[in-house]
């Protein structure tokens, strides 16, 4: 066990993937000498060379489009998109090509491409640096979409994503990059919890709180606060946003009878809406209250001086919990 930041855990995971498979490449803007703007790829170019850790021209569509070409050639590229709001120039390559090529080829083509995206707000950044675009990708067939919440999981999750034969959009909670956790670097990705399985991070019996990425920590805080009020909240870290682990989710909600979904993204047409629909379909007779959502406003991400209002915090999560108990 070592105690490292989430950024370091990801770095160690990437290093392990580069060591394990010579076909793994890292590509993106500033990922080489600089080590990425968040230093996630720090030191990797020095150790693995410029042809495996590639500083690319500054064009996101080009990064993903050439990664597809490299994958067609048998490589396993890991692309870094510098910030969430910069992924849209690559959106067409991701949606029209990366997600659909296997289907188009009737299974002949395999594209093991990982696209890492630091996402979410809370760092006081300027526009386009705090977004949560995961629903756009979860809505796209052919992609796997995951979000890590902390270092212990991220170390193996990034390796599992790289080993996946499907394209993976890998969301990293940027405001948690500097938070420390104990990681066990002896764990093999093959032995770790599979990428598409949710993890129950706090057991409870009265309400199921579903969260992912940066909101898992908020959810755990809310559960602790609720416990003081005598409410037992089960917190589940979804980890996989597409596909959703409905087995774990539904089993929990059937026990608790109440469900709140929390994410930073706008609730309108967001992932919470999909989860609410599925929970309602699968657990209708077990529900004591409608599935409630707490998330960002149906607005563009606001200037950072307003982000504490936009981002769901402990109190807003607890407010939703209170409402769930009001039925």
């Amino acid at each position: 066990m070592t105690t490292v930041t989430l950024a370091r855990a990801l770095n160690e995971g990437l290093r392990r993937a580069l060591e394990d498979d010579p076909k793994v490449l890292i590509m993106g803007e500033d990922v080489g000498k600089l080590g990425g703007v968040f230093r996630i790829t720090d030191g990797l170019q020095k150790d693995f060379g410029e042809s495996r850790v590639v500083d690319t021209p500054l064009a996101e569509s080009g990064i993903v489009g050439t990664a597809i070409g490299l994958a067609l050639r048998g490589y396993r590229p890991v692309c870094e998109i510098q910030f969430d709001g910069f992924v849209y120039p690559a959106f067409n390559q991701i949606v029209s090509q990366l997600a659909k090529m296997r289907y188009r080829s009737r299974g002949h083509v395999t594209l093991p491409v990982v696209i890492r995206i630091p996402f979410g707000g809370g760092i006081g950044a300027v526009e386009h640096h705090s977004e949560s675009p995961e629903a756009l990708f979860a809505h796209t067939a052919g992609l796997r979409v995951v979000a890590c919440s902390g270092g212990a999981d991220a170390f193996t999750m990034i390796q599992q994503a790289i080993r996946s034969d499907d394209p993976v959009i890998f969301f990293e909670p940027k405001r948690r990059y500097w938070e420390k956790a104990d990681i066990d670097t002896s764990v093999s990705p093959a032995d770790a919890l599979p990428l598409d399985v949710a993890r129950t991070v706090a057991a409870g019996s009265d309400l199921t709180l579903l969260a992912y990425g940066p909101m898992v920590k908020v959810g755990l805080g809310a559960a602790a606060a609720a416990r003081e009020e005598g409410r037992s909240i089960e917190v589940i870290d979804l980890r996989s946003l597409s596909p959703l682990d409905m087995t774990t989710i539904a089993a929990s909600v059937r026990r608790t009878g109440r469900c709140v979904v929390a994410h930073e993204a706008p609730t309108s047409s967001g992932l919470g809406a999909e989860i609410a629909a599925r929970v309602t379909e699968e657990c209708f007779y077990a529900l004591e209250a409608p599935v409630l959502r707490v998330g960002g406003f149906p607005t563009p991400y606001p200037p950072s001086r307003l982000e504490e209002h936009y981002l769901p915090d402990l109190d807003r999560v607890l407010d939703a919990v209170d409402r769930a108990f009001g039925y």
């Binding site: 569509s61 390559q93 090509q97 659909k100 289907y103 188009r104 080829s105 034969d165 596909p243």
Partner: protein, 458 residues
């Protein structure tokens, strides 16, 4: 402002002089007026092209460029001409082979258009007029080379050994392509304009990492059209290929039209001159001259293999048909242009040369025509016999690994289909009245039969 054309001396002469122009001022053409060109550029109108060469290469319109600019080895009259940079000594059997390719892919195209008109295909993108560009470049490829096509490269697909029925499958709506790109070293058709050029650049970077360049090594060719040169992806692929010196040839078939938009809407300079701005050579070839396309592509692929980086080839040609079978080109272009281009037919000139050089006689041409007839008959028959895919195949090959959401929905849809009784009065595959009554909305949504009944009732 200094303008470096990067073109031939002849092209440079017609460029605007360097002078005290401000960067924001539109560049105005100098030199001989381009016949029929619009007046000075203003908002919403097409700016005239910058280069309008006075002396065109043999048999081509002035905008095709001077003989120095445009590489030609076989004139529209079937006259063999030499080019100092592209000597080509082609054996008679290879020449006959090219003729056969040209004739057969034109027949494939003709049959496909007819099949669309008969309702057997949903749509077809015709290659008519572009046979030489596709066969010349396609036959320049070595077996190990990789090609990235648009959706119109039926001639290149032919050269790469892709079953023509696979192409018909796509346009019939039976599949999205579905051939194995690795087996043929021919990627899937790409429909979103220009996307494949980045895949080609990335693939070429993979060749570099595999150390597979050099003598007997691999190269990549990326196909795209004149319209695609306006796409960001194409420009990004030029940058990637250039800065990484990737072994890729950018083969642009300038067929003058992007559906209804003429070349002037895409570019103010000849397209091949764009390459210079990206730092690699660009050249223009008579795209209706199969020999020139072959020689130029071979040379560019060789340069790529040898580590000299990318080349852009602009094959100057003309889309003789509609953009696709849904298009009506009489709404936007002149019949006289088409007539002029008919005189530059890519097949007739090869036939004339074969006859003139004594490399082929009537027997050979009759044999190729008979082969084309056999191909046509087979295509018609096989296309009509092509079965629809099974409904549940829609759920296949979305992911490599298991996916619970898809599995669940496939099972649910299978159960839904099974709920209809094949032995009922509705007949196989359709709901009978009993089922229709019990699940009216489903029955109505299920097919034309249910829908029509609903319509009558109203």
């Amino acid at each position: 402002m200094s303008v470096d054309t990067g073109g031939s001396p002849a092209a440079r002469e017609v460029m605007p002089p360097s002078g005290p122009e401000t960067p924001t001022r539109p560049i105005t053409p100098s030199g001989p007026a381009n016949p029929g060109s619009p007046g000075p550029a203003s908002a919403g109108t097409a700016a005239p092209p910058l280069a309008s060469a006075p002396a065109a290469a043999a048999g081509l319109p002035p905008e095709a460029g001077t003989p120095e600019e445009l590489i030609q080895l076989l004139t529209p009259e079937g006259q063999r001409v030499d080019h100092p940079d592209y000597p080509l000594d082609i054996p008679a059997d290879e020449l006959r082979g090219l003729y056969r390719d040209l004739v057969l892919v034109r027949r494939l195209d003709t049959e496909a258009i007819a099949l669309q008109r008969q309702g057997e295909l949903g749509i077809w993108a015709s290659l008519l007029g572009q046979e030489a560009a596709q066969i010349g470049s396609g036959r320049a490829l070595q077996p190990q080379d990789m090609a990235f096509p648009t959706y119109r490269e039926h001639g290149v697909a032919w050269c790469r050994g892709v079953d023509p029925l696979k192409l018909l499958e796509l346009f019939r709506g039976v599949s999205h392509g579905g051939w194995d790109p690795d087996e043929h070293k021919f990627h899937l058709y790409t429909i979103v304009i220009g996307n494949q050029t980045l895949h080609a650049a990335g693939y070429a970077m993979g060749i570099q990492r595999d150390g597979a360049t050099g003598d007997g090594g691999e190269a990549v060719i990326a196909y795209f059209g004149d319209g695609a040169t306006s796409q960001g992806d194409v420009n990004e692929s030029f940058i990637w290929a250039s800065v990484f010196n990737a072994p890729v040839v950018f083969f642009c078939q300038n067929n003058q039209w992007a559906i209804s938009e003429p070349l002037e809407r895409q570019s103010r300079i000849p397209l091949y001159q764009r390459a210079r701005g990206f730092g690699f050579p660009g050249l223009r070839v008579d795209g209706n001259d199969v020999l020139a396309c072959l020689a130029v592509t071979r040379a560019a692929l060789r340069a790529a293999r040898e580590g000299q980086g990318p080349t852009m080839i602009e094959a100057f040609t003309y889309r003789m048909g509609a953009h696709t079978t849904t298009d009506d080109p009489t709404r936007y272009r002149l019949a006289s242009d088409l007539e002029a281009w008919k005189l530059r037919d890519p097949i007739e000139r090869v036939k004339a040369y074969l006859v003139r050089s004594g490399a082929a006689g009537t027997g050979f041409f009759d044999e190729v025509d008979a082969e084309a007839d056999r191909l046509g008959g087979w295509l018609r028959e096989a296309c009509r016999a092509m079965p629809d895919p099974s409904p549940l195949s829609a759920f296949e090959h979305v992911y490599a690994g298991p996916h619970p959401v898809i599995d669940a929905e496939r099972e649910a849809y299978a159960a839904y289909l099974d709920s209809f009784d094949d032995s009922g009065p509705g007949g196989p595959g359709g709901p009978g009245p009993a089922e229709a009554a019990s699940v009216p909305s489903a029955a109505q949504a299920r097919g034309t039969g249910g829908f029509e009944r609903t319509g009558e009732a109203q």
